[in-house]
């Protein structure tokens, strides 16, 4: 990719220069494509680190009893796995895709705030360096779960919690800056004729996601700041002995936490809404309803947070309100699934790798949505709460949901980035191994969860042994097949069949009008959109 873009710039004679040489290119770059690439590699690295932690957890759970690790270390692994996957793998991957594709899709020359863009990326390695380094301290890494409920994360926390707090502050600042950049780019740098209702859905979903980020990441920063003050400055936000309230923590955390789960899925909705029309060779069914559905989901995400805490002791009226508000989300989500299916109806479908991942997304995300509806039923939730059913639910929406969406997007746009087609045989192999692996891992968790197996416990009762053994086998299939993904990425970057500008026969949009690989600078003169 580097050589291709460099040779392009050798021919450029109107003053702008190509990428600098060596490491400083990446440190100092303000180019949206460079920064997007760095985000994507960073999140892939985090995916492998967080994935290794997940495999340590699954290996311990392969058999009942304590086999491999100490319970204290198990708690650190589940906590760090969650934090790294949410904040390190999924979110930066979406920001990376936005960096690469939003300017190309709206005909902008770059992101609106390129220096801030550089900064928002380069904060991340330090934030996660600080979080990961706690693993090597005497106190050990954070062990209170990724939701870090007080007082477990304050009064009873290991001393490394302060590093965790500052790490969260830094990744919050990074996310907010990234979100501001995306909003400003979309509002200000669209090519003439690119009206809001002509924007590709990936741009729309990211636009809405960015507003969610600006609204709730500061609340997360606020709640960890309260923890910091409780731990070090003698306040008692969450300590009942000093007049505080531990339940307050859960309210403030989930006020951030529920919009956060939509932050992790809306961009994936956008990616799938790009891919399905391309391979069904039909325009997206119900474009406007997709935009309104996404906006509705974003609005509803602010008024459902307490469905995470039905068992905390809420009055009946509150349980009813949060139950019905949560179920309401099924309507716009159902609109989206209906539109994807209708787009495919009577389309001339082909099943290249990105389409396979997008189709798996639609099916498996819907399964995760249905288990979410089950969890939304307040009286039933008392049975499901804190069991593996919850683990199965959110892994179905996050792994074959968000992660498959990201992988689908990478396969879809990789020929545009590198100039090379992906080897379809390898891509399909990766897909089928991932598809089988993810279902073998997470489907049995529904059963053990309904039967009462609690989450976050390193040991379990004997009757859960068979399903746990199956899940562990699935986890290793899924984990190892991501090495195939890494191999495919490197192989495609290094060479392969030359991609055309349009890349896919059914592709529509500005990003397919520029050469493959995308030159270092694009749309220096804004295209006109009819």
């Amino acid at each position: 990719m580097t050589t291709a873009t460099a040779s392009h710039d050798d021919h450029a004679d109107h003053g702008h220069h190509g990428p600098a040489k060596g490491i400083m290119r990446w440190v100092l770059t303000t180019n949206h494509k460079d920064i997007g690439t760095m985000y994507l590699w960073f999140s892939l690295t985090m995916l492998f680190i967080g994935g290794t932690m997940a495999l340590i957890v699954r290996a311990e759970l392969f058999q009942p009893g304590m086999q491999l690790i100490e319970p204290e270390f198990y708690n650190q692994m589940t906590t760090m796995h969650g934090l790294i996957m949410v904040f390190g793998a999924i979110m930066p991957a979406f920001v990376g895709l936005a960096n690469w594709m939003v300017p190309l899709m709206i005909g902008a020359p770059d992101m609106a705030l390129p220096r801030m863009n550089n900064w928002s990326f380069w904060i991340l390695p330090f934030a996660f360096g600080m979080l990961l380094f706690t693993l090597f301290t005497d106190a050990g890494a954070p062990n209170f779960g990724w939701t870090f409920y007080a007082p477990l994360s304050t009064t009873y926390a290991p001393s490394s919690v302060t590093y965790f707090i500052f790490g969260v502050h830094m990744m919050g600042i990074s996310s907010i800056m990234g979100a501001i950049n995306i909003i400003v780019t979309i509002l200000n740098l669209r090519a003439p004729g690119m009206t809001l209702m002509k924007m590709p859905l990936f741009v729309w979903t990211w636009f809405i996601t960015a507003y969610l980020l600006v609204a709730v990441m500061p609340v997360l920063a606020g709640v960890v700041t309260m923890m910091l003050m409780d731990i070090h400055f003698g306040t008692s936000f969450f300590d009942a002995a000093g007049g505080g309230d531990p339940v307050l923590f859960q309210h403030v955390f989930w006020f951030f936490g529920h919009p956060e789960v939509y932050i992790m899925i809306l961009p994936a909705f956008g990616i799938v809404s790009q891919i399905i029309p391309t391979f069904a060779r039909k325009p997206l069914f119900g474009y406007a309803s997709m935009v309104y559905a996404t906006s509705s989901i974003a609005f509803l995400s602010f008024i459902v947070w307490a469905h995470h805490m039905f068992t905390v002791g809420m009055p009946l009226q509150a349980e009813l309100f949060f139950m019905y508000a949560t179920m309401l989300i099924a309507i716009p989500t159902g609109v989206k699934v209906f539109n994807w299916v209708s787009t495919m109806f009577r389309g001339s479908m082909t099943f290249e790798t990105p389409m396979l991942f997008a189709l798996a997304f639609v099916v498996l995300f819907t399964i995760g949505g249905f288990s979410g509806l089950m969890l939304a039923i307040a009286p039933a939730d008392f049975q499901y709460h804190d069991t593996y059913f919850v683990v199965a639910h959110f892994h179905y929406v996050l792994v074959p949901g968000a992660l498959f969406g990201i992988i689908a997007g990478v396969y879809y746009w990789l020929p545009k980035w590198t100039g090379h087609y992906v080897n379809e045989t390898l891509g399909k192999f990766h897909f089928w191994m991932s598809f089988i692996g993810v279902n073998v891992t997470f489907f049995p968790m529904h059963f053990v969860g309904l039967a009462g197996m609690p989450r976050r416990i390193p040991d379990y009762a004997l009757q859960f042994a068979d399903f746990n053994a199956i899940a562990t086998v699935g986890a290793f299939i899924f984990g190892l097949s991501q090495l195939v993904f890494l191999f495919i990425l490197i192989k495609t970057i290094r060479g392969g069949e030359q991609a055309t500008d349009k890349v896919w026969e059914g592709a529509e949009g500005l990003e397919w009008t520029i050469p493959s690989p995308a030159p270092y600078h694009t749309f220096a003169e804004a295209p006109h959109v009819k």
């Binding site: 509002l187 690119m194 500061p218 606020g222 309260m226 300590d239 009942a240 002995a241």
Partner: protein, 185 residues
């Protein structure tokens, strides 16, 4: 679309720096909102009467006593994790008429070798009854300081507002004792 947003590209839109500034201010405001949730949470719970918290000391006024019904009031004591004091109620339950002032006592002793400070946190069940509990004196209003080995009777003087809904026949008043050494006044 009724959004008032620029409908096309870079020529007619707002200046990027203005948009960015507004968004930065929005982010700072949301940081403040996170902290505003702390008092809002208490205000909302008090308004809706939903988390079983009781109000602070009230003036003792003689009020109409509803002798037509009798409410069973039960007392529960709990030590928070790691709190070594002995803490118990001297009456398991009393039967009172709404409006009548009643005095009960709790016993606390500090069996450790150190002077300690405790704080009892009250809760009322059913939570809808919380707003009808009137206390003129409660050991839970203040931190309790006990020297090593010291024990003490602690009074609670309360009544139930005669407006207490008819379907409430039993009220449970629960006190959880915390080690408040870190917050000693």
């Amino acid at each position: 679309m009724t959004l008032k947003l620029p409908e096309s590209g870079s020529q007619s839109g707002p200046k990027p720096s203005n948009t960015a500034l507004k968004l930065v201010l929005a982010a700072i405001a949301m940081f403040g909102f996170g902290f505003a949730l702390v008092p809002l949470y208490d205000v909302f719970c008090e308004f809706a009467g939903i988390n079983g918290k009781t109000a602070g000391p009230v003036e003792k006024v003689e009020q109409w006593v509803d002798t037509s019904r009798t409410i069973k009031v039960q007392f529960i004591t709990t030590n928070n994790d790691g709190m070594p004091w002995e803490f118990e109620t001297l009456q398991e339950e009393v039967e009172i008429h709404p409006g009548a002032w009643t005095q009960v006592a709790f016993w606390a002793s500090n069996p450790t070798q150190n002077d300690m400070v405790g704080q009892a946190v009250p809760s009322v069940s059913p939570s809808e009854a919380a707003q009808y509990v009137q206390k003129t004196e409660c050991f839970c209003f203040d931190q309790q300081k006990l020297k090593a080995g010291e024990g003490r009777n602690m009074p609670l003087i309360f009544s139930l507002d005669p407006d207490l809904p008819d379907h409430v026949r039993t009220v449970t008043m629960s006190y959880t004792l915390f080690d408040a050494g870190a917050f000693a006044e």
